[in-house]
Structures are given as structure tokens and as C-alpha cells.
Amino acid sequence: MGIKILEIDQITKEFEKDLKNTATSAEVDSLNIKYLGKQGKINHLFKILPVKTDPQIGKAINDFKSIVQDKLSTKLSEVLDSAEQDTFDVTVPGFEKPLGSLHLVSQTIKEIETIFQKLGFVRRRYPEVETDWYYAEGLNIPKDHPARDDQETFYVGDNTVLTAHTSNGQLREMELKKSPPIKMINIGKTYRRQIDATHTPMFHQFEGLVIDKGINITHLLGVTEYFAKSYFGQDRRTRLRPHHFQFTEPSFEIDITCGVCQGTGMMHQIPCKVCKSGWLELGGAGMVHPNVLRNGGLNPDECSGFAFGWGVERILMMKSGLPDLRLIYSDDIRFLKQF
């Protein structure tokens, strides 16, 4: 039989009382320290009682110790279990955080930039107000060329315009780099004297330019297809049609299959209203005209290149199905907040 030791009795009572008052795991942790810690009550008993002379005392303390250990560990489980059962109404609404919005054009530009970044294009920005040389003459559009009387260009002076395309970046980039290779994407604001469902006086274009030794038409096809599939989706296809621009030769119009009629040209047995026979125009492209390379200070016998210039809002509308370009330039917060 065990012996009765006054000190152990006292501590046992104290422990039982403490245990009763314990409700949290942190409190269990402090009881652990209080009784079982290095400086704890039980270690203290070993010091003050004559354990060396009477082995029974040592045994009694050890028995008490294992009781304490057991009870604390049981208590801990109880406490954790009951904490688990503290329920609250999980359907209570969260506190609202102020949500702003990034404009659709910014989001689209970001997408474009990311896609071309993966292909190793450097992003650039070139002037929106530009001289005739970079805007037209240097791009192989002489002063008396019919392309000049399109009536679409805003003039700010006899020799300065608001750019109606981002192609002024071509000559600027050639001058900046002075020699191949060139691989840039110029995203910028452009302006035309037009306003209707598909035109606003200000819009955005992105202009790609790649120049190096041995650049050929298959590279233009590769980059176009990569962009179209990345931006519009893996199921979309592109095609090239012959076209004419003064600053590229040959020139192409790039089409992409219509997302509405899936490229069939028909919706419910009637011709698709969105596209022309299953195809939507993405924009123009071509191999840089040798005169343009020369005007940019490069030697067309030593390098070749391709360029394309497409509309940011255009691809956004093609993808999103927004019916009217003017909507994009609305400042109605109820519209802007949707994105």
C-alpha cells in the first residue's frame, strides 16, 4: 500500500482544483508547466522530500506524476473537442471591402503584353503626336499618294498629325536600335476622325515588328497563330488574305474564325450577322517594305522583317461581344465596375 504524505495530498487537492477551473488549451499548457515543468511542483517534491531514504516516497511522487500527466492529457482533448463545437452562423455576411476596377482596355493591354512577352517581344511606346516623316513619308506613303486623302487623320500642323496607326514606331525603333535584331511591340493611343458603333476618335493599337537576318513569312504566321490562340482560344483558326499597304510587301489581312458562329458563317440557318462567311478581320500585317527598312537606316539586302498593327478595342470587342465601341469609353461607374 502506498503511504500518505501530507505534501502530496496538498498538491493533489490543488491540482484537482486547478483542473476544474481549466477551460482552454492555453490553461492546460500553463498547468503542465506549473506541475510537470523543470521548476514545477512535482520536481519540487523530489527536492524537499527524503526520496533517498525512503524509496516509497519516490514511488508515491512518481505515481502522482503519472496521474497528473494522464489527467492533463485527457483534459487537453476535452478542451480541444469542446472548442471545436463552438458554432457560429457561417452565413453571416463578410465586411465589404471597397472594390475598384481596372479598365477593360488596361486589362486587354496587359493580356497582349503578357502574350508577346512570352515570345520575347520588348514593349515600347512611341509618340502619339508625330511628324509626317515617321507617320507617312518614311513609311513609303509619298505626299501625293491616295492613302493621304483618307480624311481620317487629325492634323495639328502642316507637318504634324495625331497618329492614326502605331506604325510610326517602326522607323523610331529602327533608329533606336540602329541594327537588327529588332523584336518589339508598340502599344499606344491612336486617333481617327470617325465616330460610330465601331469607331471612336481615340482608340488603341498594338504594333509588332520583328527584323533580323532570315525573317520570313512563316514567322509572321507563327506569331499570328500564337497570339490568336493565346488570346482568343485554342479552337480558333487564322488565315491570311492578300492585301495592300504601302509599308509592307507583301501585305496581308489576317482573319480569325468567328466565335459566334464557330466559323461556319451560319447561325440558325441564316447568315451570321457578326462576321463575313465565318471569318472576322483581325487586322493588317506584312513583310516590311524594303524602302521602309532603308528609311529606318537598315539594309534590306542584309535583313528582312514583318510587322502587324491591330486594334486593342477591336480584339476586345471580338472576344467579349460588346456591341458598341463607345460603351468602352463610357465613364458610367455602373459599367466600369462590372470588370
Partner: protein, 661 residues
């Protein structure tokens, strides 16, 4: 240019079993685009986009030539037939009728004419009427319809006059004189300027607005017995000028301004004579008049096979190259590793360099057959573009904390400039603005932002917060181009401290160094000088923050009083700290003590004074103010030890002493 031709017209020159659908799909890939195909009774109507430098394809014959070349590549049997260039024509000689035509210099490339007699004018046959109507033209009578039909078929307009209505048997083709006018066949009276090409009939009357529309005076009608038929090619620039100025964009004008082939004049003339005889019984009464002052020299362009393969990106055999070019009418001889191509007369203007030939070969070979490759370019590393990064990061951060990003037009109205109190003479003005709303390039984004808030008044609950990042345009005296300055503008319905906290956080995130705010002495005119601060990084002024002048708010019609920030990002990025410095994390936690300061100084000055008292003051936080007394939470701390309370008290005394007067 868009043309409309019917399937039956096309098949006059094209022998193929291909259906309308196959035709339109395949030709679009390699040649002119078939935008739409419409089925009508017994026929198809094609809407075709003829590429602007390819006037030779703006006709049934032209499309047929392309079609034959293209379909062959798709292994579909197809032959170009009834090629007028292959036919020989004999024109009547030594006939009695005489007429004179005087032609001034540089007005025509070629001018052919012939008189015909014993014409009987009546309505066209059903077949001709249907053909014209299907192609969007109106049938008039058997003679006029012939010229229109030939235009559709061959792409070269011709014209007939009632010979008896011409004043004398002597015509002059000349530049118009300022003040002259002509009533054209559409009944319109056209005021001519200097240099429109016209034909005068020898009695001072104008009978033709050349290349655009005939004059009413010599119109062919049911009484006409004798006619003069002309098949001209005019100076293209003059025709375009006249057509644009008079807004008469007739099919003839659109063709003549694109330089049709003068070698087509005689074939079309011969076809016309033949049809007039068939359909109206008329016979030539004069010899052929043919004025062709400068026949064009033969043109050769050389194409190296190796270069072609490199440029297209695939190897196309020499035989294929030669056969493709031959199918388009090019002649050629192989000389060594090159093909010397003889350019056909109808391609005289659009084929000039080897790249033009490469296009011909590649498109007929089929762009769709080419593989796709991504270019491997050894681009050297580029420096970071801090401005673009900053714009993107600012937009992202501000939209994350509740700002709505807006895109406003760079073009603003005079009215908005004036409402904002800005000086219109400092703006770049468009010389051909679209409307009053878009006349000037803006120099600040704030006026547009104020309008945005005005437009949203009453539409949304809560305080509106908008942000825009865009260029402003600063005129520079003596320079052709303005400075385009990337600018950030925020406009918030919340109070000053909130927006200031937001911009401080943004600037901290962007790592812009040494920011300070100082009361603004001369802010931009729409800012209220009583409540506006300059934002500096060291000594560089980055922009402004503050309230808007009540007068400006009233003019714009804004009922609340929003807070505005405008920052020059182009300058700001110069102050971005690109170095990363390491500071050891303090081992000794700071002690936070509250202090109340009684001072008339501005809060900014008070905080600066406290801050500068000792290096042991780690942070000064403003709490609030009451009757000129300001409470601050001040963190005291040392990197080397825990501060004693006595040391802190001493510091607090020193601080208080600095505010004793």
C-alpha cells in the same frame, strides 16, 4: 474597292466545274476576297473586295484570271477563256466621217474614239437588264448599257455621246477653268474648279466631266442616230481629285483613279463596236482615233529563286514558280539562278520589285500551305522600362483599394478648358477637329475627371473614386512635337486625409524617395490654393494634391467637393529608389508614448520638428487636434538598448521646449 459581279458574268471568262461556294472560299485565300455570296434565281451574286492596287481584278475578266490560277493550285480544273489580250482586232479604215480631237498635255494616258452611224436606240434585252441589275447598275438603253456591261466585264469604263448634239466636229480635252460648270447625266450642276478634266464641244459647251460622268447636253436618247464612242484612260490623280472634291464616287472614277491598263482600250473598243452592231444595228462611220502619246516600255523584274525561298520560308520548286507566274500572265526566262520576269501590261503599276513577285508566287502557292514558325531572335537584354512598370503597378494598386479606372479622350473641348480656368492658347489645337467636343489635346487629366464625377452624380451610392493614367501634351516653343507626359490623376469623394494616405501608400510601394507635401503657392488654376499642396520628391515637384476651386466645381456642375491628385509620372520615375538597402531588424522594441503639443505651426512642421529632435524618435503618428492642441503617438527606441523611462521623459521635455515661444 468593292465590286459586285454575277457568277454568270465571271464564267464568261472562266471555264471550271467549281461551284460558287468552292470558288468564293478558295479565291479569297489567295486573291481578291469574296466578302459575301448571294444566291438568286439561276445565278449567284458575289460581293468582291478588289485590293486597292489591283485595279486589274476589278472586273469579271480580272477575277476570272485570278480564279483560274488559284483553282489550279487546289487541283480543281479551271481555264481562263475569252482573254481579250489574245485576240486580234481590225478597225475600219479610210471612212468618210471626220472629227478632230485636241488633247492638252498630261491629261490622258490614252484616248481612243470612233464614230458610229445608223443607231437604233431601244430598251436592252431582258438578259442585259438582269446582268446589270444583278451587279447593282440601272439599265438605260441598249447603247448606254453596252458601255456599263463592258465596264463590269473588263474593268475599263467607256462613254458614248450623241454625235449630233455636239456643237462642232471638233472636241477639246482640257483642264477646266475656275468658275465653269457642267450639268451631268444625274441632273446635277457641278461647279468646277481649276484643273478638272473636261471635254468641250467646239462651241464652248462642256459635254463631259471626264472619267466621272457624262454631260447632259450630249446624252444618248431614243432619237439618237449617230454616236461618238470613247474608250479613254485619264490621268489618275486628276480624276481622284475631281471625284473627291465633287463627292462623285462613280464606278468609272474609282476605276480611272487606280490606273487601268491602256492596252485594254482597243479590245474594249472592238467589243463595243461589235455589240453596238449586234444590238442597235450601228456601223462605224469614222476611222479609229487613237492617241497614245507615251507607250509604256516593257518592264522586267528579276527574282532569285534562293532569295524567294528564304523570304517565303519554304522551298518552292522552280517549275512551280514559273508556272504560277505564267498563269498570272507573266512571261519570263531563267537566267542562272534567277527568273527574269516580263510584267504583263495590266500589272504595270503594282509590280516593281522582287518582293512584289514573291507575293504573287506565295499567295497563289497558298499562304495556308505555309508552316508556322516562331522567330528565334537573339535580342540582347533590355533595360527595365520603369515608366510602363510604374503605370501598370499604380493602376493595379489603386484599383485594388477602391478606385475605378477611367479612359477619357485625349481630345477635349474648348468649353471644358475654359470651365477649368486653363488658358486655351497653351493647348495644341487640331486643325481639322471632328467636332467641338474633340478640339484640343489636354494638358491635365483633372478636368475630364471632374466631368466623370459629374456624369455619375446620383448614379452610385457611396463616395466615388476614379483614377486615370494617360499622356498630357505640353507644347514646347520652337519644337515641332510636344512633350507627351505620362500623368496620374486621382479624384476621390472621400476626405483629404484618406486620399493623402492612399497616395503616400502608393508612393511607398513604388519606392519613390523622400516624399514631402508643402502648401502650394501657385497650383494649377483649377486647384483651390487655400487647400492644395505640392508633392515633392526631394526638390523635384511631382504634382499636386488638394481640393478644387468652388467656381470650377460650379461651372462643371459638381455638387460635392472631391479631392484631387495629379502627378507627373515621367518625372516621378526618376526618383524611384532602385537600390535595396538592408536595415537590421531592431532587437529592442520601441516604446509608444502619447504627447499633446500646443502650437500654431502647421501639423507638417510640428511633425518634422518632433522627428528632427532626436534619432531615438522612430515614428510620429498624428492622432487628432482639439482647440489648437494636437495629440501624437510617438515611438521612442534605440538600436542598441532598451530606453529607460527617464531618458524618454527627458526627450519629451526637449520636444515640448521646442514649441515654447
Amino acid at each position: 474597292m468593292d465590286i459586285i459581279i454575277s457568277d454568270s458574268a465571271l464564267r464568261k471568262f472562266l471555264d471550271t466545274p467549281a461551284t460558287a461556294e468552292i470558288l468564293s472560299q478558295n479565291i479569297s485565300l489567295c486573291g481578291p476576297t469574296f466578302d459575301r455570296t448571294k444566291k438568286i434565281a439561276g445565278n449567284y451574286i458575289y460581293e468582291i473586295e478588289a485590293i486597292t492596287n489591283r485595279v486589274d481584278t476589278a472586273s469579271a475578266m480580272g477575277v476570272a484570271r485570278e480564279a483560274a490560277a488559284i483553282l489550279t493550285q487546289f487541283n480543281i480544273p479551271a481555264k481562263f477563256v475569252n482573254d481579250p489580250y489574245q485576240e486580234k482586232f481590225n478597225f475600219p479604215k479610210n471612212l468618210s466621217k471626220q472629227f478632230h480631237i485636241n488633247i492638252d498635255k498630261n491629261l490622258v494616258v490614252r484616248f481612243t474614239a470612233i464614230a458610229l452611224e445608223n443607231i437604233s436606240v431601244h430598251p436592252s434585252s431582258k438578259e442585259t437588264m438582269t446582268l446589270l441589275e444583278n451587279c447593282g447598275l440601272r439599265s438605260l438603253n441598249n447603247c448606254v448599257d453596252i458601255t456599263n456591261e463592258l465596264t463590269l466585264l473588263y474593268g475599263l469604263p467607256s462613254h458614248i455621246f450623241d454625235l449630233d448634239k455636239l456643237g462642232a466636229q471638233s472636241l477639246t480635252i482640257r483642264d477646266s477653268i475656275e468658275g465653269e460648270s457642267i450639268i451631268t447625266l444625274d441632273g446635277q450642276n457641278n461647279q468646277l474648279g481649276e484643273g478638272d478634266i473636261v471635254i468641250e464641244d467646239g462651241t464652248g459647251r462642256l459635254v463631259d466631266l471626264c472619267g466621272i460622268m457624262g454631260g447632259q447636253i450630249a446624252e444618248v436618247d431614243e432619237h439618237t442616230k449617230n454616236i461618238l464612242l470613247i474608250v479613254p484612260v485619264y490621268n489618275h490623280k486628276k480624276i481622284r481629285g475631281t471625284s473627291l472634291r465633287l463627292q462623285k464616287r462613280t464606278l468609272a472614277a474609282q476605276l480611272f483613279e487606280k490606273q487601268p491598263d491602256p492596252e485594254l482600250c482597243l479590245p474594249v473598243m472592238a467589243k463595243a463596236i461589235q455589240l453596238i452592231k449586234q444590238r442597235s444595228g450601228g456601223e462605224a462611220s469614222s476611222s479609229l482615233f487613237d492617241y497614245y502619246p507615251v507607250p509604256r516600255p516593257t518592264k522586267f523584274v528579276t527574282l532569285k529563286f534562293k532569295w524567294l525561298n528564304d523570304f517565303v520560308g519554304v522551298i518552292i520548286s522552280q517549275d512551280t514558280v514559273v508556272s504560277i507566274l505564267a498563269s498570272l500572265g507573266f512571261g519570263g526566262t531563267i537566267e542562272g539562278d534567277s527568273l527574269v520576269c516580263l510584267v504583263p501590261s495590266w500589272r504595270y503599276h503594282d509590280i516593281n520589285i522582287k518582293e512584289d513577285l514573291a507575293e504573287e508566287v506565295a499567295r497563289i502557292y497558298g499562304y495556308f500551305k505555309l508552316p508556322h514558325a516562331l522567330p528565334c531572335v537573339n535580342l540582347p537584354a533590355e533595360p527595365r522600362n520603369l515608366l510602363l512598370e510604374t503605370e501598370k503597378e499604380s493602376k493595379k494598386y489603386l484599383s485594388d483599394i477602391g478606385y475605378n479606372e477611367v479612359y477619357n479622350s485625349s481630345l477635349v473641348s474648348l468649353s471644358l478648358i475654359e470651365k477649368s480656368g486653363l488658358d486655351p492658347s497653351s493647348f495644341i489645337r487640331l486643325s481639322n477637329a471632328l467636332s467641338q467636343d474633340y478640339g484640343y489635346l489636354r494638358t491635365s487629366l483633372i478636368p475630364s475627371a471632374l466631368e466623370n464625377h459629374k456624369h455619375n452624380q446620383g448614379k452610385v451610392g457611396g463616395q466615388l473614386k476614379t483614377v486615370e493614367i494617360a499622356n498630357c501634351y505640353q507644347k514646347i516653343e520652337g519644337r515641332e512635337l510636344p512633350r507627351e507626359i505620362s500623368t496620374l490623376a486621382m479624384l476621390s469623394g472621400e476626405d483629404y486625409r484618406k486620399i493623402k494616405g492612399e497616395i503616400e501608400a502608393l508612393l511607398w510601394k513604388l519606392r519613390v524617395k523622400d516624399i514631402s507635401f508643402k502648401p502650394s503657392r501657385t497650383p494649377p488654376p483649377f486647384f483651390n490654393p487655400a487647400g492644395t499642396a505640392d508633392i515633392y520628391s526631394k526638390k523635384l515637384l511631382l504634382g499636386h494634391i488638394g481640393s478644387i476651386k468652388p467656381a470650377v466645381l460650379r461651372k462643371i456642375g459638381l455638387l460635392n467637393n472631391p479631392m484631387a491628385i495629379e502627378i507627373n509620372l515621367a518625372d516621378m520615375v526618376l526618383k524611384i529608389n532602385r537600390k535595396y538597402e538592408f536595415h537590421p531588424v531592431p532587437e529592442y522594441p520601441p516604446v509608444l508614448e502619447e504627447m499633446t503639443i500646443d502650437s500654431r505651426k502647421s501639423l507638417g512642421d510640428i511633425i518634422e520638428t518632433i522627428q528632427n529632435t532626436s534619432q531615438l524618435i522612430k515614428k510620429v503618428q498624428y492622432i487628432n487636434s482639439f482647440k489648437g492642441k494636437h495629440s501624437f503617438g510617438i515611438s521612442f527606441g534605440s538600436d542598441n538598448k532598451n530606453l529607460e523611462q527617464s531618458e524618454i521623459n527627458t526627450l519629451k521635455d526637449i520636444i515640448q521646449n521646442r514649441f515654447k515661444i
